[in-house]
């Protein structure tokens, strides 16, 4: 789960991380008011969207008076920001962060991430602040310093000190930097983050060390112990279909195309998206319904795929392992009845490939169903080819 920069900074502040003073604003008036409250000669107006690259896309403005902050707020609120990370559609700015300006002397990079290989949390630092870390990693990997953290000890003081000296921070800033690292690690562990990234971390002309930007991502599996984080979810940042699916307990990702699929198991679901594309279709979604879905859940999945006319055809790809194909088939028929206006038709062709336990009985059920538009596929390949062909025909008609 992602949250906004201003929310991340509030969390970090509660852990003792030095962040610039700032307040969120949802309107121009609020922006002006917050700028006045800050009372600093320079205030920064920052668009709050769940994507990086805001600066380059014009989402960060420097204002020299509360009035100017208001002008920028008016410009940014409601604007669609297209950054490197938003995709071509961009994201609408609904919130701003009004923040005190800092006198930046030098920019650094600091983050905590999970390392799969060592099964440890790793602290990464670089003097190439402000740059994308992926770019630094690709072009000058020697400029990234790493400290692997033993979870039994936590971030050891010597590791933070080694990082601070490795980053060539001036002597008087070292202790401020190590304190920030230590607090950031506490926040990472305390809130079950999957990423805590400060880019840039800045050294100011006054000798302070400040988290000028902050990005926290959270482990979805640990949200049960952080209801306070769950409350920060901004639903306007998420795909409405993905939100609806999550509410139904479905694993769904919108891929934007028109050939939908419904599959049991995440691996097979990914592979089904791939095979649709292999046969020339544009995958509409990734969808793992799990093995033991009820007709109601399958009906909800159908509704989500069909919503807004997105799916022009649906490929159901099921491998019945422990779950029995006949029960899955019954589920599909019942679901079709639920969503069908007259109890016997579906708005788009549904190609079903069943394999595994009780497959013959499952196929029999689908063959005898009164629901039109349900087509049995003898093989997975055949099913993928058929659905792509049917969707193309529908487009031409």
């Amino acid at each position: 789960m992602n949250i906004h920069e201003y929310q991340s900074k509030a969390i970090l502040k509660s852990y003792g991380v030095n962040v610039p003073e700032g307040y969120p604003a949802f309107s121009v008036e609020e922006a002006v008011e917050n700028a006045k409250k800050l009372g600093t000669p320079v205030v920064v107006v920052k668009a709050q969207i769940h994507a990086g690259g805001r600066g380059k896309a014009g989402g960060v403005k420097i204002a020299h008076s509360p009035e100017e902050a208001g002008v920028f707020a008016k410009e940014l609120l409601g604007k669609t920001l297209v950054t490197k990370q938003t995709g071509p559609a961009g994201k609408v700015v609904n919130r701003l962060l009004i923040e005190a300006g800092s006198n930046i002397k030098k920019e650094y990079y600091l983050s905590f991430v999970l390392d799969r290989k060592t099964a440890r949390v790793v602290m990464m630092g670089s003097e190439e602040g402000g740059m994308e870390i992926e770019k630094v990693a690709a072009e000058m990997p020697e400029k990234i310093l790493k400290e692997t953290i033993d979870p039994a000890i936590g971030l050891a003081a010597f590791q933070a000190t080694r990082m601070a000296y490795g980053l060539h921070l001036p002597k008087e800033a070292v202790r401020k930097a190590t304190k920030l690292m230590s607090c950031l690690y506490q926040a990472f562990v305390g809130k079950d983050c999957s990423l805590a990234e400060i880019n840039p971390l800045v050294l100011t002309e006054e000798g302070d060390v400040i988290a000028l930007d902050a990005k926290l991502n959270f482990d979805d599996s640990a949200l049960f112990r952080h209801p306070d984080i769950e409350e920060l979810r901004d639903v306007t940042e998420e795909d409405p279909k993905e939100l609806a699916a999550a509410k139904e307990g479905l694993n769904y990702v919108n891929l934007g195309g028109d050939v939908a699929c419904m599959v049991n198991g995440a691996g097979l679901a990914m592979a089904t998206v791939d095979i649709i594309k292999y046969y020339g279709g544009e995958p509409a979604n990734f969808l793992d319904v799990g093995g033991d879905s009820t007709p109601e859940k399958i009906a909800a999945a159908f509704r989500i795929m069909l919503d807004g006319g997105q799916a022009k055809g649906i490929f159901v790809n099921i491998f019945g392992g422990i779950n029995k194909c006949d029960l899955v088939a019954e589920g599909i028929v019942e679901a079709a009845k639920i969503i069908s206006p007259d109890g016997k038709s579906l708005p788009v062709p549904v190609v079903v490939r069943l394999e595994g336990t009780n497959v013959e009985r499952g196929r029999e059920i689908l063959k005898n169903t009164p629901i039109e538009n349900v087509i049995m596929a003898p093989t997975m390949e055949g099913g993928a080819e058929t659905i792509v062909k049917l969707v193309k025909e529908a487009e031409q008609a």
């Binding site: 099964a119 791939d274 594309k277 392992g321």
Partner: protein, 301 residues
């Protein structure tokens, strides 16, 4: 032979009184697995499918001499169940549970350092040695005894691939689902090293997916360490957009790393053929076996 589990493995089911665990205990027993005990705190003295239940893993081990366990415990308690099994010095622990917080797994892995236990999973379908034993939820009937080892990050793809192998007459030694989480007990290289030392396993099928670099690391390891056992592969997630989690916690392309294209390239670079679609996994294995001249030997069913 096969790896890690066989007909003599004595298995504890942790969380045995839960609905799914009870169902799968029956399935495992039917497959011939020696399930000797179950553990659910507070339920000692009961039996499930004829299996005696104990309050703790230690009690179960002392009473039955169990040397392995399979965990069906809800996510918020599952990490503790793994710790308990490791503390009891079991040889093999399989954790089926999905959605264990990642930082709980960081602690588990730290606790396991220097200990003898091999953990498989979490978020995995388990492990099955054909005609001997299965720990987990893999459907037994799709397997036939043979000479191909299967390693997979995905449950249903393990079944799909095994089904295709069996249909093509290619039997298996052991199928091991290593799980879809980013931090897990056993990764591709660990499983490959076990198959390398198993005389019955003549070839290996690897099923990977987007996220991390375990497949790339495995490709390098195979080239350096296992020149005489051919490997075929499949990678899912070619169409996955970056930054999106595709069902599994570990299936995410982040920071430009972990794409299917990178993995396929790394595998191809060391001569490993990667199936172009999920429907061609069986065919790709057959082709690999023929190329290595061991098809006849591996055509066991």
């Amino acid at each position: 032979m096969g790896i890690l589990v066989n007909k003599d493995t004595k298995v504890i089911v942790q969380g045995i009184t839960g609905k799914a665990a009870t169902f799968h205990t029956k399935q495992m027993l039917e497959y011939g697995t020696k399930i000797v005990a179950g553990v659910t705190p507070g339920k000692a003295g009961q039996t499930v499918e004829g299996v005696p239940v104990f309050n703790t893993v230690r009690d179960a081990v002392e009473a039955t001499g169990a040397n392995a366990s399979v965990i069906y415990v809800p996510a918020r308690f599952a990490a503790d169940s793994i710790l308990e099994a490791v503390d009891a010095e079991l040889d093999v622990v399989v954790c089926i549970t999905e959605h264990i917080p990642v930082q709980d797994m960081v602690k588990v892995r730290r606790y396991m350092e220097g200990k003898k236990t091999r953990l498989i999973g979490p978020n995995c379908p388990g492990i099955l040695t054909a005609d001997e034993a299965k720990l987990g939820i893999i459907p037994g009937y799709i397997h036939r005894k043979g000479h191909v080892g299967v390693i997979s990050r995905s449950g249903t793809l393990t079944y799909e691939a095994t089904f295709q192998l069996t249909a093509a007459g290619i039997g298996q030694t052991t199928a091991i689902g290593i799980g879809g989480d980013p931090i897990k007990g056993t990764d591709f290289i660990d499983a490959l090293a076990l198959f390398k030392d198993d005389p019955d396993t003549l070839a290996v099928l690897m099923i990977g997916e987007i996220g991390g670099t375990a497949e790339e690391d495995a490709a390098k390891w195979i080239a350096e360490n296992m020149p005489d056992k051919p490997v075929a592969a499949f990678i899912s997630g070619r169409q996955a957009p970056p930054g999106k989690r595709m069902g599994h916690a570990g299936a995410i392309i982040s920071g430009g790393k972990g794409t299917a294209a990178d993995k396929i390239k790394a595998l191809n670079a060391v001569g490993i053929e990667v199936a172009d679609t999920v429907a061609h996994i069986g065919e790709t294995v057959v082709k690999t076996l023929k190329k290595a001249g061991i098809y006849e030997q591996c055509h066991t069913c």
